[in-house]
Each structure stands twice: as C-alpha cells, then as structure tokens.
Symmetry: C2
Subunit: 211 residues, 2 copies
DNA sequence: CTCCTCAACGAACGGTGTTAGGTTTCCCAA
DNA sequence: TTGGGAAACCTAACACCGTTCGTTGAGGAG
C-alpha cells in the first residue's frame, strides 16, 4: 500500500536519533536505519536528501530546544547562565551526536539564531558589540567543551590502569555516578567563574579589568 | 628492493597528518595515504595495526607538544594560563584532527599525564583535591571548545546569506583574517575571565566565593 | 649458488553512501 | 468500469572504504 506510507521525514529522524543514542555515531548506517524502519536503504532517499543532511537536521532539532529567554529581564548574568545550562542540557541528552556537531557548531542556522539573541541581550546590558561577540563565543567554548570532554564516558574499561599511575588525579572519578556529578559540578564552576570574571570587566563595574 | 623499505611508521604518520591538514579528517583514507607514499594500501598494515590506531598515535604526537611547565614556580594563575595557551596552540596547528580528539580527550594517555601535572600544581597552590580536578576539567572545556567552535573556519562560503539575517551579530567576523583574530581574542577573554573568577574562589582570596 | 626472510603486492571480503530503473498499489478522471 | 498517473518502495549496481589472505621477488646469509 504505497499510498499510505510507512516512512516520514520525522519518523526517520526519530529512529536515526534513537540509533545514535543507542549505538553511537558510527553505529548509524542508512541500511541499518532502513532495516529498523522495516524498509530498504534506497527508500530513505525519497524523504532525505543525504545522510549528512539528515544529521544536520537532527542537530538543528536538538539546538532548537536551547532556551535563550533568560535575557528578557535585562540581567546579562542570569541570561548567560540560563542559556549555558540549557545548551549543555540539550547536548547532554544526546551525547553521541556531539562529535558531529563539533564539525562546525558556529555555522548552524539554529545556533546562529541563538547567538544573535545572546549578542543582542549583551549589548542591551551595556557591553560593546565586539565584546558581546567574544562573550557569546566564549560561552560556546564552555558549552561544547563540556559536552565533549566529559569524565563520565569511557573511563571504566580499565580502572586498574589509571589507579596509581597518576598520583595527583582524584581516583574518585573512576566511578560513573561520581564522574557524572563531577562533570556537572565542573561545568557549574567554569560557568560561575567565567561570569564572575566577566563582571569585573563590565562597563558598569566598580573596579574594571586588571590582571 | 624490499629490504630497504620505503615505508616507516613515522613517515606514515607524517603523511597522514599532512593529508588531514590538507583534505580534512574525512579526506584521509588508507588507499589515498598509501598512494601518496607510492605504495598500495595493504602494505601499510605492516607498520600500522589499524587506521584508528594511527589516528590515536597522531593525537598523542600532537598532545605531546603541550607545555605544562608553567606550574613550576608555584603561581597557579600563570600555570593555568600558559598551559591553556599551549594546549590551544597545539590544537590550532592541526584543526582538522580536533573532531577526532573530541571523541574522548580525557582518556588519552598523553592528556592524562598533563592533567595530572596541572592537578598537582593546583593542589600545591592551595586548592582542594576536588576543586583542582574540576578546574583542570574546566580548562579542558575551554581549550577544546575553542579549538572546535572557531569563527574562522567555514563562514566564508555564503557571506551574503548571513548579512542582514542576524542583526545583532557583528558583521566583521565574516572576513577570515578578522575571524581568526576574533577567535584568538575570544579565547583570551574567556581564559582571563575564568582565571579571575577562580581567583575570587581561591582559599587565600580576600573575599571568598560569590553569589 | 642456494636458501630464506620480509616488504610490498594483487585480489578479495564485507561493509558504506548513493543512484538508476523497475514494480507495486492506490486514487482519480474519463 | 476502466485506464492513467503518481507516489512509495523495491532490486541491482556503482564506487569507495578498512582490512585480511596468500603470493611475489629482491636482498643478505651460508
């Protein structure tokens, strides 16, 4: 019954994302995706122009959920903080796709639209245009860095090898649960320290800049 | 003359890195690498166990150049800053391999060894063990984030499309040269703000912590 | 001169993304 | 009622990928 299709763009995206979440980025192939949908690989190309395009759509879908509404009340510190948290949360929901995003996060439509909002909020709060651009970029650094280089993934395989070899490193982060908490706390520390450091540089700050 | 080999592990690595720098990470294939060395693909496997392994060796080679010597004199701010700059410089020299590094930067031998040194330096400077771990992690966020989400790569193709679409964003960063400078300045800003924010939290600081 | 080692080879396997062309099935118009 | 058309999926194939196998042939050792 070809006229009541079993394939749809959104269904393909959902299944593709599920496979990536389950099997990793390399675990997604067009044939496997098709099989999971009860179909042959070629049929997908009626709904998706290319695999790369599919991944970009997935990326856009994820970035669409990032909330940049925190700038509404004019408090740039609050806006920056909530935006960063929302961004990180969105990426953390699908960690396996982050390496793909990493190929060019700054150039994605959805990402740019959000950057523009952040930039506007910062300028309204008294930052210069160039400073605002740099602050928005810095926020990206933090968010993407945190999404990539987590302690939580991949440490477990040979814990014994790490023990004793790096005397200074905290041994505790070998446990997945502890590692996830450490990731979270590290991100919060980095974000708080960054925003505090920015506050020292804000045009309206009591003592400006200074090393 | 098979007994005077034309292949060597280090030569393979050098050519592979050159291809990645030139053609991108996806531009490297074993057949192309072999052809570039005047050889067939199968011959490579006498010197390299696997393509993935080759990439890991390349990654190690790059990370080996990161300088963590800044902690020698006991000034944690100087140590953190020089380490971050050195790290970023090492990654920026071969930007195309960064997405591969991003698959698990915290788990690489060379990376861990350096993290251990940073951690030791921080503890010696008065930070708690857990705080030191989080600061080291935060540093990774900044460095890898900066290496990935640069403004400089990829904006040029359709500058016209960006213009006028994002009214708040600075138009200047569309020019590659300006973009590179913006990347650099953004990283320096993020690093300085982060370190300043940390200083507020240091055990020996006049006014501890923040809101 | 013979033998033996070993680097590089040719061919192949199973997998990938993608395309061209063919087949089925339904809806709508005549 | 019947035929046309279009949509949805199919099979088959292409060019490429990473990797393995058994072979080839040149050089040094005896």
């Amino acid at each position: 019954m070809p006229r009541t299709p079993i394939l749809s763009a959104s269904g393909i995206r959902a299944t593709a994302l599920a496979i990536i979440d389950r099997d990793g980025l390399d675990g997604l192939s067009m044939r496997k995706l098709a099989a999971e949908l009860g179909v042959r690989a070629a049929s997908l190309y009626g709904h998706v122009t290319t695999k790369d395009d599919l991944l970009h759509e997935l990326a856009g879908e994820i970035l669409e959920r990032v909330d940049v509404g925190g700038f509404a009340d004019g408090d740039w510190r609050h806006g920056l903080t909530t935006c960063a948290r929302s961004y990180r949360a969105a990426l953390a929901e699908h960690p396996n796709i982050v390496p793909f995003l990493a190929y060019g996060p700054a150039h994605r439509e959805a990402s740019l639209r959000r950057l523009d909002v952040v930039h506007g909020g910062l300028v309204r709060a008294g930052w210069g245009r160039r400073e605002a651009t740099m602050i928005a970029a810095s926020l990206m650094y933090l968010v993407f860095g945190a999404a990539l280089s987590t302690f939580s993934s991949g440490f477990s395989p040979d814990q014994a090898a790490y023990r004793d070899r790096y005397p200074n490193l905290d041994k505790a982060h070998l446990l997945p649960a502890v590692a996830a908490e450490l990731d979270h706390d590290s991100f919060e520390l980095a974000l708080a320290a960054f925003v505090d450091g920015l506050a020292l540089r804000h045009p309206g700050s009591p003592r400006r800049a200074g090393p």
